[in-house]
């Protein structure tokens, strides 16, 4: 790809980027949120037409107007956001756009058999006949990968494929990637997990602010170097641990169950503490968090805040009890895309900002300005529509939104998923400052280094059940994995 530029209204997402990937190699693209990684790959896969620039495949210049054009050339992309059809079956999704035919009809048997084989190879235990919408996000992510893989591509682009995968599944994915590499397939791999990049990549390209900074073989590059190139300066500690004094329990849950996905979940969170909630994908962490926050219903158990029992049936009750929740699916549950950053931030506290039901604009502006500055949201313009921000900045705005409600317990569900290192460090800094001020934080994360880095205690979930909390001093990657996979029963 030569001289690729892409201008969105209001944003120049890419300027004059040159990028090339060789057959039989894994080429990683790294960069901060909004650096333009996804946009570049969407150009390659025919989703976007570049404003300027040309693309060559196998030495021939090609012009792709729609994804189908790219697919004809053997280019397949696993999108950062799930791109599946909830109302079709898993097998149909895997073969979407290229279902096998027998005469005029769909060859169902071939389709199901093929899907089952691919899924098995990926190590995913998913019924090909299940309706896709009934699967969890991570299972859907696996289907998405299976879909690209099953198409026998010549070039495959994976945009953050592991953000919702467990280490297990990641390992299975890497096995497949190596196999594909051996078959001479060109692989583009985008990830914010630099460890993965180091593990799998042959070449690395670093993007910053829509421009290519460097493209080089991965041999000999270190994470620190990459980070420096990504953010333009040195970053020392990726997972800082701010010391804080731990106080009395703020949130106590006992024997929670929803009758479907989890049961008998109990834990405490104390003031000034970060409690990690980890486990394999689909262990039920999100469901627990949603239930505590009143987004789904509990069938068993009790919740106490500050020693007082509370009933929570809706988010506003949870908010009154001092609980806040930053959801996992930022695009789906986090932001109101049509509203400005300011309007997003003040949403939960509108009533407080209102007199005689009129929202005080000055109070509203003050609030937004404060958080925009505190969290250095880029661009620092609260009147900008939030969907024009990059993922990391959106995440900061969502966290600000909940801090504006002044909660005593903050539940963060995968707060740094798909967020670049810079923004990640900053989110960690913000969390650190919050606990230092005495807030109790529950952090759901699948990224073990992160969990080990910032949490004071960790609860591991497996199959809808929670282990007792493990103190920081007893934590190790092996221990958590053992609990998460059921090799050790606590």
């Amino acid at each position: 790809m030569q001289g690729i530029s892409k201008i969105f209204p209001g944003v120049k997402a890419l300027s004059d980027v040159n990028f090339s990937v060789d057959f039989g190699r894994v080429h990683a693209i790294v960069g901060e949120n909004g650096a333009g990684k996804s946009t570049l790959m969407k150009v390659l896969s025919g989703t976007y037409l570049p404003t300027t620039g040309t693309t060559e495949v196998g030495g021939v210049e090609v012009r792709m107007r729609k994804p189908a054009d790219a697919q004809k050339l053997g280019i397949r992309m696993v999108h950062q956001e799930l791109n599946l059809v909830p109302d079709l079956t898993v097998a149909e999704n895997v073969h979407l756009g290229r279902m096998p035919r027998k005469w005029l009809l769909v060859d169902k048997a071939a389709m199901v058999g093929n899907a089952a084989a691919v899924l098995k190879e990926l190590g995913a235990d998913i019924d090909p006949k299940a309706r896709l919408g009934d699967l969890s996000i991570s299972q859907q992510q696996l289907v998405e990968i299976a879909k690209a893989y099953a198409a026998n591509p010549r070039i495959i682009v994976l945009d953050e494929p592991t953000s919702s995968l467990s280490e297990h599944e990641t390992a299975a994915l890497f096995r497949i990637l190596r196999k594909m590499k051996a078959q001479g397939i060109a692989i583009v791999y985008i990830s914010h997990r630099l460890k993965e990049v180091l593990e799998i990549a042959d070449d690395v390209t670093i993007l910053r602010d829509g421009s290519m900074i460097e493209s080089r073989p991965a041999d000999g590059i270190t994470a620190a170097q990459m980070i420096k190139l990504m953010v333009g300066r040195e970053v020392t500690n990726v997972f800082p641990k701010t010391p804080s004094t731990i106080g009395a329990p703020v949130l106590k849950v006992r024997g929670l169950g929803d009758g479907v996905t989890f049961s008998n979940v109990s834990f405490d969170v104390r003031a000034g503490e970060i409690l990690g909630l980890t486990g394999l994908v689909g262990a039920g962490r999100t469901e627990v968090a949603k239930a505590i926050f009143g987004l789904s219903t509990l069938t068993a158990g009790s919740i106490e805040t500050h020693g007082k029992p509370v009933t929570i049936r809706s988010p506003s009750q949870a908010m009154r009890a001092g609980i806040a929740y930053v959801p996992e699916d930022r695009k789906g549950d986090g932001i109101i895309p049509s509203m400005t950053v300011r309007e997003n931030i003040s949403l939960p506290v509108l009533r407080r900002l209102s007199r005689f039901s009129r929202v005080s604009l000055s109070a509203d502006r003050k609030l937004a300005a404060k958080y925009a500055a505190d969290f250095s949201i880029v661009p620092p313009d609260p009147e900008r529509r939030i969907n024009l921000l990059s993922g990391g900045n959106q995440q900061k705005a969502v966290i600000s939104k909940w801090l504006s409600a002044k909660p005593s317990v903050l539940i963060l569900d995968e707060p740094t998923r798909g967020v670049d290192v810079g923004a990640k460090a900053e989110i960690h800094r913000i969390i650190g400052e919050l606990v230092a001020k005495g807030m109790a934080v529950v952090m759901i994360s699948s990224e073990l280094p992160e969990v080990l880095g910032v949490c004071d205690r960790v609860v591991v979930m497996r199959d809808g059940r929670a282990s007792p909390a493990i103190e920081r001093k007893d934590l190790s990657e092996e221990r958590i994995m053992a609990l998460a996979t059921g090799e050790e029963t606590a």
């Binding site: 944003v11 120049k12 953010v231 250095s376 880029v378």
Partner: protein, 331 residues
């Protein structure tokens, strides 16, 4: 760490600008220009267009459907697609406000009529907001049922007014402005306050913009969604009651067609049917445009089918233009 924060802050990058504002202004101005064009054409083409009498007529004709438009704006903004039960709630307001007069007096009849219309809205709201049924289906069903009940209740005939004083009141003028137009103005002001200034309005926009995110932001989404339908029903109940009092007679089918007129106005005003965006002034600008255009066409003696044709074409063009503009602004 702080150096990152700092450097990110001074990244006031030329890559970013505010695309959306510009488009907003353009699309708003577009409608104003269109209105001006119609006014200009009207003034040139018809000597009577610019008479007070004619403009007052336009205002009066606008009032009844205008009140419904205010409500319908909420439905569209909250992402409720459309309220098709408007004809039924209008009939409810018109018939009850007249039929109950002899029994309980004009004022209680009026209040009760509007309240009962609101109750229909409550049913819509419960079905859409709490049960989660598609608004088109829910309001279609409820509308059919309510209209059926209303017809059964009056035995299917016309109900006449018994208190001419009330008719005189709604037909009166204050400083040359028809009372009914003033009522419309008041409703519009209230509607605008609620949608654009109050927390409820912000909630409405948020719910329409992204339902689950609003829910996860402690917005009582179900109530907000239901609320939009109740507001619309109250508005159309009020509109129906006023209609009944002006005409001093009401049939079950008085409200036919008002739902489409209201949706047309709101949509021409550039309020997105997908929700999350829109305001009462915009919707009213759409209404003013449609009404003025119709008025000019009538004054020019354009035949009814041709009027319908032009109106249909206009809706299509207005919305297509709006979409095009918006796409250029924000993808």
């Amino acid at each position: 760490m702080t150096d990152i924060a700092l450097s990110m802050q001074d990244r006031t990058n030329p890559r970013f600008n505010r695309g959306s504002r510009l488009v907003d202004t353009v699309s708003r101005a577009g409608l104003l220009i269109a209105i001006l064009a119609v006014v200009l054409y009207g003034a040139l083409a018809s000597p009577v267009f610019f008479t007070t009498g004619n403009l007052v007529n336009v205002l009066t004709s606008m009032a009844i459907v205008g009140i419904v438009v205010v409500g319908m704006t909420f439905v569209l903004v909250v992402g409720g697609l459309a309220d098709l039960s408007v004809p039924a709630t209008i009939a409810c307001g018109a018939i009850l406000s007249l039929a109950l007069q002899p029994m309980i007096g004009p004022v209680p009849a009026f209040v009760l009529a509007v309240a009962l219309a609101g109750a229909c809205g409550l049913v819509n709201g419960l079905l859409v907001g709490y049960v989660g049924i598609n608004p088109i289906i829910a309001t279609l069903g409820v509308g059919t049922i309510v209209l059926g009940i209303v017809q059964a209740a009056v035995g299917g005939v016309i109900v006449y007014g018994t208190d001419p004083a009330t008719a005189a009141l709604v037909k009166s003028r204050v400083l040359g402005i028809p009372t009914i137009a003033l009522i419309f103005l008041a409703i519009a002001l209230i509607g605008n306050f609620v949608l654009s200034r109050s927390f409820w309005g912000r909630w409405t926009i948020a719910t329409g913009g992204n339902y689950s995110a609003a829910e996860a932001s402690a917005v009582p989404v179900r109530a907000v969604k239901a609320g939009a339908f109740i507001i619309t029903a109250l508005c159309s109940g009020l509109s129906g009651a006023l209609l009944g009092l002006t005409l001093q007679s009401a049939r079950p089918l008085v409200g036919t067609g008002y739902e489409f007129s209201a949706i047309t106005a709101v949509v021409v005003g550039g309020v997105s049917i997908m929700g999350g965006f829109g305001s009462v002034p915009r919707a009213i600008a759409g209404l003013v445009f449609v009404q003025l255009l119709t008025n000019v066409m009538v004054l020019q003696g354009v035949r009814t089918p041709v009027q319908g044709f032009i109106l249909g074409l206009l809706i299509a063009i207005a919305v297509a233009l709006d979409v095009a503009l918006r796409k250029r602004g924000v993808a």
